[in-house]
Symmetry: C2
Subunit: 295 residues, 2 copies
């Protein structure tokens, strides 16, 4: 994906543009992931078409997202940006006395299906790039490993696992992976892209509803990385592997057939963090350099 245009760019053949930050959430169950794919229902497609509708744009604008989630993966704290013609943005409230951001949020709510919600739309600060300005992404993975913990009302975001899990052993395994490493063993490789990442937090706990929950935070994740990390911990939680095994796989540097990628249902992008406004542009430059050169 090419880096996004800056707020000063002019996407619409010369008309002034404004960069908008969108904060959004979705139930990924019925989506073929975030990224636009021909003929498939994706979150990006639904939102780009909704924006074109509510802003009466002749052509759907392009969204850039913080976390390109896979098919079936959810998001509660997803962030995207989009460059829009300034006149269309400013005209959004019509005769209503509200800000363009409030007007667009309300209109999107009326147009998008109920498995997507745009919580907020507002002009982004200078230098903001939803993908490259991010400091870190935080995911949660939720598992009901006991029939008594299965809540049919929350089944969209929880994996129902048929065997009970040793959560302290999984937690020990997770902590052995923290820090900056080459996560090639847990990534689907992509040409010319680095697999070096910094795992800032990774641990397992029992929550108040009896679920086994992982919280995973890193500067960025490569493709299917969180679900591969969870899969390695599942082997530990079921007693098939020692808690030191996931770190051994990491050190091996190669994908291991014993690591099963965990199902997407349990995975939710919970939060994306950005630096203060003054640090946005520098952070974006730094990320671009690391992600493209280091590989």
């Amino acid at each position: 994906m090419a880096p996004a245009t800056s707020p000063a760019d002019e996407p619409d053949g010369g008309a002034p543009a404004v960069r908008i930050r969108l904060d959004l959430a979705y139930d990924g169950t019925a989506f073929s992931g975030w990224a636009r794919q021909p003929g498939l229902r994706t979150v990006q497609t639904v939102l780009e078409e909704a924006l074109a509708t509510v802003l009466r744009l002749p052509q759907a604008p392009r969204l850039v997202v913080a976390g390109r989630t896979d098919a079936g993966v959810h998001a509660r704290g997803q962030v995207a940006h989009v460059d829009l013609p300034a006149d269309a943005w400013l005209a959004a409230p019509g005769r209503a006395s509200r800000s363009p951001g409030d007007a667009v949020t309300r209109r999107l709510a009326a147009v998008v299906p109920p498995d997507v919600v745009v919580h907020r739309a507002r002009p982004a600060p200078p230098g903001f790039d939803a993908r490259f300005s991010a400091l870190w992404r935080r995911y949660a993975y939720r598992i009901a490993d006991d029939v008594a913990a299965r809540d049919p009302l929350r089944r969209a975001e929880v994996t129902w696992h048929p065997r009970s899990l040793d959560v302290p052993a999984m937690d020990a395994a997770a902590r052995g992976l923290l820090g900056e490493h080459d996560f090639a063993a847990y990534c689907r490789p992509r040409e010319g892209a680095t697999t070096i990442r910094t795992l800032l937090a990774f641990g397992w706990e029992r929550d108040g509803h009896g679920l086994a929950v992982a919280h995973v935070r890193a500067d960025a994740f490569c493709h299917s990385m969180v679900r591969a990390l969870v899969g390695a911990c599942l082997a530990v939680g079921e007693g098939r592997r020692e808690p030191t095994w996931p770190a051994q796989v990491l050190a091996g540097g190669l994908r291991h057939p014993g690591v099963t990628v965990a199902p997407p249902r349990g995975l939710t992008l919970e939060e994306v963090s950005y630096p203060d406004d003054a640090g946005l542009a520098a952070r974006a430059e730094e990320s671009r350099a690391v992600r493209t050169l280091a590989g």
Copy 2:
């Protein structure tokens, strides 16, 4: 509905019976309520047929439930009982070394659709009746009254309300209804049944996710009562009525056209409470007498 048989009864033409307590949960979205109705998908039908399947019964057994929820209403802490042939119950584990309760729970999990979960099945103590032994039922009603609080992953159990609500005013209104009253103004009347109920708790708060949540607890509820109480509070929360108005409607004793029954989506039966085993039979006798005579 006739009172349930006691554990000593013999439902299967003379074979000894055992009364089983089921603890269960369901997402009511795709159900036409709890109660069996010809040609409709109801929770009772699905569970009775599942029990017949896993216990290889010639005929579906009859369930008696604590809270007969309406179409679209959910349950997280529902309780039911069923009288089963003792030999079928005892044979449930087959060759597996687990209790009949564990065996039945596991087998039901494999048979019922994912919008119903039986958390536990076990022999009920003497005198237990899921409906009449209950001391109280507790419901929650959840409303997202701001786009920012809409979580697509929890949309099954939350009503999305288009206007923002004054929760402290709703809380004041709710507290004005506490105690024993004739709730005829909030009930759909039924021939020969009392509408006198004791509202043990009713209040509104903002939860940690920005939702407006009501917790409602009573010895029992008549038909559509919780949703009518919520509807009266919504009129207060939107500023259309004073916080004293729901109590005035109650005192009037007649259904009021200003009270709109709130949508089922936001309503969940969270908990049913029973006395200690020694008090079960006496409580059931008391409830039967009150519910049938006082009307």
